[in-house]
């Protein structure tokens, strides 16, 4: 069991890669390719279930560790491990990928092989980001996720796909170069890329890095802020989302954006707690602006997918606010919102993709009264809408509540302003729902639309169930996250008290 424990992360990370390589050798029989991709992603999911089952709930540190020296100079280790935060993110990734395969069954018909290869490569890169404990390895997986995503958008997307793909790629790549500079600076002084070593060194050499610490913090911050995306670096997101194929949007919103927030929590707060505390106010301000701005812009969108994209900006503002409230509740809430958002927005994009497959448009004006021809679809859509708004009993509520209480603890004004975000999100989501589903059918073509097929229902059920489960029994998730966050915050508190005491 212990060897399996040591190797499980490698297996989970690289099974999609192995599947991609095997897919490359397949002949071009579309149906077989899809089935194989589904099997591979399901296999990765099932294996990743080993992680929560065998996770020691009340243990705060890293588990399932595997550490091999990869290169001696520079001193890079192949070091994988997870803790409460990253475990659920890994599971989110492996959970969403088979659903993405299912949702793209019919909508991708050209160059199907390359599509699934890219998706599986993307999955490996995404899981790798969450499990790496070596800064270099982390950076490698971070960069490795860019190309498949850019290609998925640029080759399989909609009209302005090339522009969106290039914008996405350049934006994120340029931002991550600053992170690379910070990583290299740290390596030059620490002598190792390991997360634990770096953290320890930073704790011990506080005075030495007085001048450099703000810059290092900023370097990491820029890379993650673009990814989150934090206002005002969010401009790549609407284009990328609208032009991406459905599966691309799901993975982009569901997982890729979480890379940014995970990075903020793990590296910015974990490595530089002092700087995090100092900068918390302006970062939280940006987050709140993002919440409100995202919601307001979403309200006026005529394009359904763009609306959901801006809702992402709004929701992830909550996450950043929670993280930089520097409270237990806030940070646990932030992690929970990450997971909840992954489920609900992933589902939203799938639902939008379903209607696009039928009508080939995202314009809200083209819809109207869809509840009549497609009742089951309308039901799913309502569940997910309510989850996104944050209705109690669904997953959105738990996370948002925790974040708001943390924000309120940090600064009452933040809590109040962010709470208005809940109101705004209810506004635009419900209004959108009303325009699309309720009332009479405006366009005759909508009358003949077929309801959800079996495949689409199979893709959506797990998400709906997850939304309920997370809302009704959040402790299953929070139990693992809580000790980890406590650990992160206690280090931050230790550090702060060290600095103050000096």
């Amino acid at each position: 069991m212990s060897t399996l424990n040591a190797y499980i992360l490698t297996i989970v990370t690289f099974i999609p890669l192995g599947g991609a390589v095997l897919l490359a050798l397949f002949p071009r029989r579309d149906r077989d390719l899809r089935v194989f991709a589904l099997v591979v992603s399901l296999l990765a999911f099932v294996l990743s279930l080993h992680l929560p089952v065998h996770f020691a709930r009340h243990h705060a540190g890293f588990q399932f560790e595997q550490d091999i020296q990869w290169i001696t100079t520079p001193n890079i280790h192949y070091h994988l491990a997870i803790d409460g935060i990253s475990m659920w993110l890994v599971l989110l990734t492996t959970f969403l990928t088979p659903l993405c395969v299912l949702i793209s069954w019919k909508s991708v018909h050209d160059r199907v092989k390359e599509f699934f290869i890219l998706m599986l490569l993307l999955e490996t890169a995404l899981i790798g980001v969450f499990v790496s404990l070596d800064l270099f390895l982390f950076y490698f997986f971070w960069e490795a996720s860019l190309i498949p995503m850019a290609l998925l958008i640029g080759v399989y997307g909609h009209e302005r796909r090339v522009y969106a793909a290039v914008k996405f790629f350049l934006f994120t790549m340029i931002a991550s170069v600053f992170m690379l500079a910070a990583i290299l600076w740290l390596y030059a002084h620490v002598g190792s890329f390991q997360f634990a070593d770096t953290q320890q060194w930073l704790r011990g050499h506080g005075t030495e890095i007085q001048g450099a610490a703000p810059w290092l913090f900023l370097g990491f911050f820029v890379a993650f802020a673009v990814k989150v995306p934090l206002f005002p670096l969010h401009t790549w997101l609407p284009d990328a989302h609208v032009e991406a194929p459905t599966a691309g949007s799901v993975l982009l919103a569901g997982v890729l954006l979480k890379m940014g927030t995970y990075g903020l929590l793990r590296f910015n707060v974990g490595l530089f707690p002092d700087e995090a505390r100092h900068n918390a106010s302006w970062i939280a301000t940006l987050a709140i602006i993002g919440i409100i701005y995202g919601a307001l812009v979403a309200m006026v969108q005529p394009n359904l997918k763009k609306l959901v994209a801006y809702s992402s900006v709004s929701h992830l503002g909550f996450v950043v606010l929670g993280i930089f409230s520097m409270t237990q509740a806030g940070q646990v809430g932030a992690v929970f919102v990450m997971l909840a958002h992954g489920v609900s927005t992933g589902a939203l994009f799938m639902l939008v993709g379903i209607i696009h497959e039928r009508r080939h448009t995202f314009e809200i004006a083209e819809f109207g009264g869809l509840a009549t021809p497609m009742p089951i679809y309308a039901t799913f859509f309502l569940i997910i809408t309510l989850s996104s708004i944050g209705l109690p009993l669904l997953n959105g509520f738990v996370g948002e509540f925790l974040v708001l209480s943390g924000a309120f603890l940090a600064h009452p004004l933040w809590g109040i302003l962010a709470a208005t975000g809940v109101i705004w999100s209810a506004c635009y989501m419900l209004w959108m729902y009303q325009r699309v589903f309720f009332g009479k059918v405006n366009h005759d073509v909508n009358l003949a639309l077929p309801d959800l097929s079996l495949r689409e229902r199979i893709a959506l059920w797990p998400l709906a169930v997850a939304a309920f489960a997370m809302g009704v029994a959040p402790l299953i998730w929070i139990n693992a996250v809580d000790p980890t966050v406590r650990n992160v915050l206690s280090i931050a508190a230790q550090f702060a008290s060290q600095v103050v005491a000096r």
Partner: protein, 517 residues
């Protein structure tokens, strides 16, 4: 009182060059006897020659280097100077590393060229002979410890390259490129020779070690000595010209654009490596006492080079010119390594340059191999329009080209990252933070023009539907470069250690593959 002046050591040391010359002559003779369809045998003979030469280099490395001491050839037997026997050929790890690099570059270039020359109807044996002879010149440049040998090697390599650039006789661009390269090259060689003559005047000898000692005495007595400065500037001018650093880079885009594409690849890799070997040899071994003097010059040149190279590449539509300007910007990064590290107190930068040249060989030759294969019946294959939609015509090639472009941009885990990494590391270790941030910013800029090519390949439709035929030689070349780029990216340990060994850096510990040197 020389006892014998052509010993077994000398024979072994010059064996690689002798073998290459013999095979070059052999190719010339065979070419006379071959009918037109069998001209490939020239290429095969040349490759066999490279193989024999590699074996000779291995023999030098394994047979004589058991304890890692440098072997000094007694070709130039000078009486004991400072207690050491000093010769004109210094075969240390540095030289051997570069020998391997040259042989590799030449081999891949030959593989790329065969089919290309057939299409151009210029498939003569002299091409391969010239490549072999130019490698001889490069070997002299890398292992030479004496100004005369360095200069002769430089001229040998340069003249072969002039002819190679002008090889497409009916193509006006080729003629123009060769003429420009020749004139500017001859001019810079003249300035270089003037600098060398001043160095001789200062020290009374053409041996680099004697020159270094003389400069040490001269300089410590007279820190502002203008003759030394003039000597250094003129020497540096010649060297920087060969490396195509700003402001001596004007010949590069035209020469790269006009030359046959496989020759461009060869020039950008092997000729540049040889120029770097000579530059490092002279700056680190010969002109070392003048380091405080040439450092500001290098800073200016490297910043200017990165700036011009990156900005000029942004607006290029011709693939070869774009890659030429990207070459220029890469030289700028490498110069940063020389600024940061002086091979005595800090060797990381120099190790970085060596690693950079190795990975650069693979990735640049790979990129040029893809561009070479675009040459079809009526299409020259130079423009970005010609590479558009490559994914639909030759998907493997498009993917490989993407790998090469990403590697050139310096993205892990591809090979190009390690070159940039070591240079950045050395800059940070020696606290040149401003230069490091500049380098990072310019690396980012580089992404844009590499991605332009990438997006043209994948996301634009093809401008002409004719399929791209890839000859077996080209396939091997692409395979070798691709494996090198990805392989070094994932398992760089061996090559990093090799570069370290060549500089005398001892490394402890084992890694994933347990390779120890």
């Amino acid at each position: 009182m020389p006892t014998s002046f052509f010993t077994g050591t000398d024979y072994a040391l010059s064996l690689p060059m002798i073998l290459l010359s013999l095979f070059g002559l052999g190719v010339l003779i065979i070419d006379l006897m071959l009918p037109a369809e069998w001209k490939r045998w020239n290429a095969i003979t040349a490759l066999i020659g490279l193989g024999f030469s590699t074996a000779a280099v291995m023999r030098i490395q394994l047979g004589h280097f058991a304890d890692g001491r440098p072997l000094v050839g007694s070709f130039a037997y000078l009486s004991n100077v400072g207690g050491q026997v000093v010769g004109s050929v210094l075969m240390d790890g540095f030289s051997i590393y570069f020998f391997y690099l040259f042989l590799l570059g030449a081999a891949i270039a030959i593989l790329m060229s065969a089919h290309y020359l057939e299409i151009e109807h210029e498939h003569h044996g002299e091409f391969y002979a010239l490549i072999l002879f130019s490698v001889v010149g490069m070997m002299c440049m890398a292992s030479g410890y004496d100004l005369v040998l360095l200069f002769i090697g430089l001229e040998l390599m340069a003249i072969s390259t002039y002819v190679l650039v002008g090889f497409l006789r009916r193509d006006k661009r080729s003629n123009e490129a060769a003429l420009k390269y020749l004139l500017l090259g001859a001019f810079s060689s003249g300035i270089f020779a003037y600098g060398l003559s001043l160095l001789y005047g200062l020290s009374g000898s053409t041996n680099l070690q004697v020159i270094a000692q003389a400069l040490q005495r001269h300089y410590s007595a007279n820190p502002k000595d203008p003759i030394a400065i003039v000597a250094m500037i003129t020497t540096a001018t010649g060297l920087l010209f060969k490396v195509a650093a700003v402001p001596f880079h004007q010949w590069a885009p035209d020469a790269y654009e006009g030359a046959p594409t496989s020759v461009t690849g060869y020039m950008s890799v092997a000729v540049k490596s040889a120029a770097w070997a000579m530059l490092l040899r002279i700056f680190l071994w010969g002109l070392y006492p003048l380091r405080p003097v040439y450092l500001p010059l290098l800073v200016f040149v490297s910043v200017a080079t990165m700036t011009v190279g990156n900005f000029a590449a942004l607006s290029q539509n011709n693939l070869k010119r774009l890659l030429a300007y990207s070459s220029i910007s890469h030289v700028g990064y490498m110069l940063l390594g020389l600024i940061a590290s002086d091979n005595i107190t800090n060797k990381t930068g120099i190790q970085g340059i060596l690693v950079y040249l190795l990975v650069y060989t693979f990735m640049n030759l790979g990129a040029f191999a893809v561009v070479t294969s675009l040459r079809r019946r009526d299409i020259i294959g130079d423009e970005i329009d010609d590479i558009a939609g490559l994914y639909s015509k030759a998907p493997t090639e498009a993917v490989l080209m993407l790998l090469f472009l990403l590697s050139l941009a310096g993205i892990p885990p591809l090979a190009g990252f390690y070159g940039k990494y070591f240079i950045f590391l050395s800059l940070i270790q020696t606290q040149h933070y401003v230069l490091a941030s500049l380098a990072v910013l310019y690396a980012v800029l580089g992404l844009y023009y590499y991605m332009r090519i990438g997006s043209a390949m994948f996301m634009r439709p093809a401008t002409d539907p004719e399929p791209v035929a890839i000859s077996p030689g080209m396939q091997v070349a692409l395979a070798v470069t691709a494996i090198g780029t990805v392989g070094i990216g994932i398992l760089p340990e061996f090559f990093i250690r090799a570069a370290g060994w060549s500089l005398g850096i001892q490394q402890a510990g084992t890694s994933l593959l347990g390779f120890l040197r």
